[in-house]
């Protein structure tokens, strides 16, 4: 059951790759990154259930979410201002 | 205290490397003093270690008290103690040299950080020498490589950062190949300790995993030691690095790489497999080494920049070392090990003397050396000694190792290697003579020569000492010979 769910989510994430490769704007790509990030968070939690010890996976998911968020912010800020500070 | 020397020899400089940049903020001389202190400490400790090894045999130090293969082991035997002494000694010499040379070539605000990186480079090399764990080797390899990239990029010429970057790219590829090799060996044996690997590998030599692992080690280390045809990073790196860095890297960097390669070949894989199963591997490398010896020398002849010439000459010298290693007999291996020692001394002397000339003048072209023989007699005398030693005139160190390499070749019945050694020496004669001729026997523009500033004693003295050692150990050759003899027998089991 978990495996199947993971598969579905991964495939749906895979589909977003189209926008990543094609673009056309930078925002499409950033959005793709964001979507893939959110989807994989779910995958990680589900993977925890596959290993029957979800407690070890929740914190990864949290770190993951944070990183993803920061990344998107960084990208956007760079695109917007051309620098990070 | 004494029993912790194997680790202290590395940890103390490591800690001092952290302090050096901070102390340098107070006064930049402090960071140099700390670097000198650290290298001196390592040198003295490694002498003690060598002494200990000679009287008590191999030292095995278990990091954190975990016995190998579970924990990391430090091994000091004849070979590693010997190489450690070479590296630390030359580090001391170059550090003394560095004081004025670095002030001259590098911005004041960078000097504290420079000495930190400089020390870390030495720490990385020492770690590579002492460790008995193959993954630990990789970590230290990366420390020395990373610092190496940065140090090369510190040169004054505008090409220096590019040289550093190219070195970084190819160096990282090499290191990653070594990591791949480690991975494949791990898959095949399940262990990372060199001695344990050596014990578990026999019997696995038909495994494609092990063959591949060796292939990747070979490529990776060939890159690291700049064995032809993977030498492309070396000439630029040595040429554009600051004088002190060129001297340090040329005399220790590739040597330690060669040492690690020797460790992998003899301690991990063991000589038997090359003699019985993979017989074509030594032949292959002998060909490569011969080609390196000749091509390196020929390319050196074509250079007009003296540092570049020395760099290409290093390429050919690496060929000598590998020739000795892959002869796979005690005498030949001894020749290879001797050449590690000898070439370190000679190249250090040469690069230091070139550094002395370049001090405040930036002279790097061979044609600009005209008339300098009497303006800078000591530096040029050191250069001449180094050059004669490279050519292999008797009573210099270069002769000793070539003698052993030739003996080793005949021992294997490979008489055709002797012409290669001889011709390569003749080629060296050609390119070194061009320089010496310019130095002593051509008159320079009197105005130019008069304008050349004096070189500080702190640069001249280490240069002279290292050059003098080329003669001392060429005459008292039995000292390195007896140590390498034991080391070679140890490696060949």
């Amino acid at each position: 059951m978990f495996e199947f769910t993971i598969l579905v989510i991964v495939i749906s994430a895979f589909l977003t790759l189209y926008r990543m490769v094609k673009g056309p704007t930078i925002y499409d790509r950033i959005l793709t990154a964001n979507i893939i990030g959110t989807k994989t968070v779910v995958v990680i939690v589900l993977a925890g259930f596959v290993f029957k010890s979800p407690q070890f996976f929740i914190d990864i998911a949290l770190v993951y979410v944070l990183i993803n968020f920061i990344l998107v912010l960084a990208f956007l800020k760079y695109v917007e201002k051309g620098r990070l500070d | 205290m004494t029993e912790h020397f194997p680790v202290l020899v590395i940890i103390i400089p490591l800690v001092l490397a952290l302090i050096a940049p901070v102390a340098g903020r107070l006064n930049k001389i402090y960071s140099w003093a700390i670097a000198l202190l650290a290298t001196l400490f390592s040198f003295i400790t490694s002498m003690l270690l060598l002494h200990q090894v000679m009287y008590n045999g191999t030292i095995s130090y278990w990091m954190g008290g975990w016995e190998p293969p579970w924990g990391i082991e430090y091994v000091l035997d004849y070979l590693s103690a010997f190489v450690l002494v070479i590296v630390t000694f030359l580090a001391v010499a170059v550090t003394i040299f560095a004081r004025h040379s670095v002030t001259n070539e590098i911005d004041d605000n960078k000097i504290p950080a420079f000495y930190g990186v400089y020390l870390l480079f030495i720490v990385g090399l020492m770690g590579m020498i002492v460790t008995g764990d193959i993954f630990n080797l990789y970590v230290f390899l990366e420390i020395s490589s990373l610092t190496g990239y940065a140090l090369v990029a510190m040169g004054k010429r505008r090409k220096a950062p590019l040289a550093g970057f190219r070195y970084l790219v190819i160096g990282t590829v090499g290191a990653t190949f070594i990591l791949l090799g480690i991975g494949y060996l791990y898959i095949a044996t399940g262990t990372l300790n060199m001695a344990d690997l050596g014990a578990r590998l026999p019997g696995l030599f038909n495994s494609k995993l092990v063959i591949t692992a060796f292939a990747f080690f070979a490529i990776g280390f060939s890159i690291k030691i700049a064995l032809f045809p993977l030498h492309t990073w070396l000439p630029d790196a040595y040429t554009y690095a600051p004088s002190a860095v060129s001297a340090l890297m040329a005399s220790t960097g590739t040597k330690v790489g060669a040492y690690s390669f020797i460790r992998i070949i003899f301690t991990v894989f063991g000589v038997k497999v090359f003699l019985n199963q993979w017989v074509s591997v030594p032949y292959f490398f002998l060909i490569i080494a011969s080609v390196a010896m000749l091509v390196g020398s020929i390319l050196a002849i074509a250079q007009t920049n003296i540092k570049k010439m020395l760099a290409y000459s290093s390429v050919s010298q690496i060929g000598y070392i590998m020739l000795g290693v892959f002869l796979m007999n005690p005498i030949g291996l001894q020749g290879g090990l001797l050449h590690i020692f000898n070439h370190a001394l000679m190249k250090c002397a040469l690069f230091l003397s070139v550094g002395c000339i370049a001090y405040k003048t930036g002279i790097s072209n061979i044609n600009d050396l005209k008339g300098l023989g009497f303006k800078k007699p000591y530096a040029m005398a050191a250069f001449t000694i180094g050059a004669l030693s490279m050519i292999g005139i008797p009573l210099t160190v270069g002769f000793v190792s070539k003698w052993y390499l030739a003996l080793g070749s005949l021992e294997n019945g490979m008489w055709y290697l002797i012409p290669v050694i001889v011709i390569s020496s003749i080629l060296m004669l050609v390119y070194f003579w061009r320089v010496i001729d310019n130095i002593y026997f051509k008159a320079g523009e009197p105005n130019d020569v008069a304008k050349i500033p004096a070189t500080p004693a702190s640069m001249i003295i280490p240069t002279i000492i290292v050059a003098a050692l080329c003669l001392v150990f060429g005459t008292l050759a039995f000292i390195p010979v007896s140590i390498t003899e034991k080391a070679a027998l140890l490696l060949l089991g």
Binding site: F51, K52, S53, F56 | F135, Y138, V139, E142, L146, Y149, A150, A153, R157, R158, K159, P161, L162, G164, F165, L168, V169, T172, V173, T176, L179, L180, G183, Y186, I187, L192, T304, N305, S364, N365
Partner: protein, 120 residues
């Protein structure tokens, strides 16, 4: 045959990724691209190591009783170190690229080589 291929699928994929990264490293002229290639190249090797550690039916290497089957933790340890090393290399490479850009105003290797052809 198919079974043989499937039994090691992680390994085949890692080889492919490694080749992509390596190709970028040696063929791209843009220095940043080279670094990107280097990153891909290195992570592919990490993938190999992590794949070595996999044990069928094993659980994450965190103590859950003596009977449990664990995934081999040693490669994980090695890779933790290697990742940090990889990023450090990248950082130094960046610093060099910035230096090169300051010097030459471009990060295309071919263009730079063209510029310095006449330096010695």
């Amino acid at each position: 045959m198919m079974e043989f291929i499937l039994a090691k699928y992680n390994y085949w994929i890692y080889v492919i990724i490694m080749m992509i990264g390596f190709y970028a490293v040696i063929s791209k002229s843009n220095l940043i691209k080279k670094i990107i290639g280097l990153s891909i190249f290195q992570t592919s090797v990490f993938l190999l190591f992590i794949s070595i550690g996999k044990v069928d039916g094993g659980t994450v290497p965190i103590y859950q009783g003596t009977e449990a089957v664990y995934i081999n933790p040693l490669p994980h340890v090695l890779i933790l170190t290697a990742i940090v090393v990889g990023v450090s290399v990248t950082a130094v490479a960046f610093a060099l690229v910035v230096n090169i850009y300051r010097e030459f105003g471009t990060i295309e290797e071919n263009a730079i080589l063209e510029m310095i052809k006449h330096d010695d």
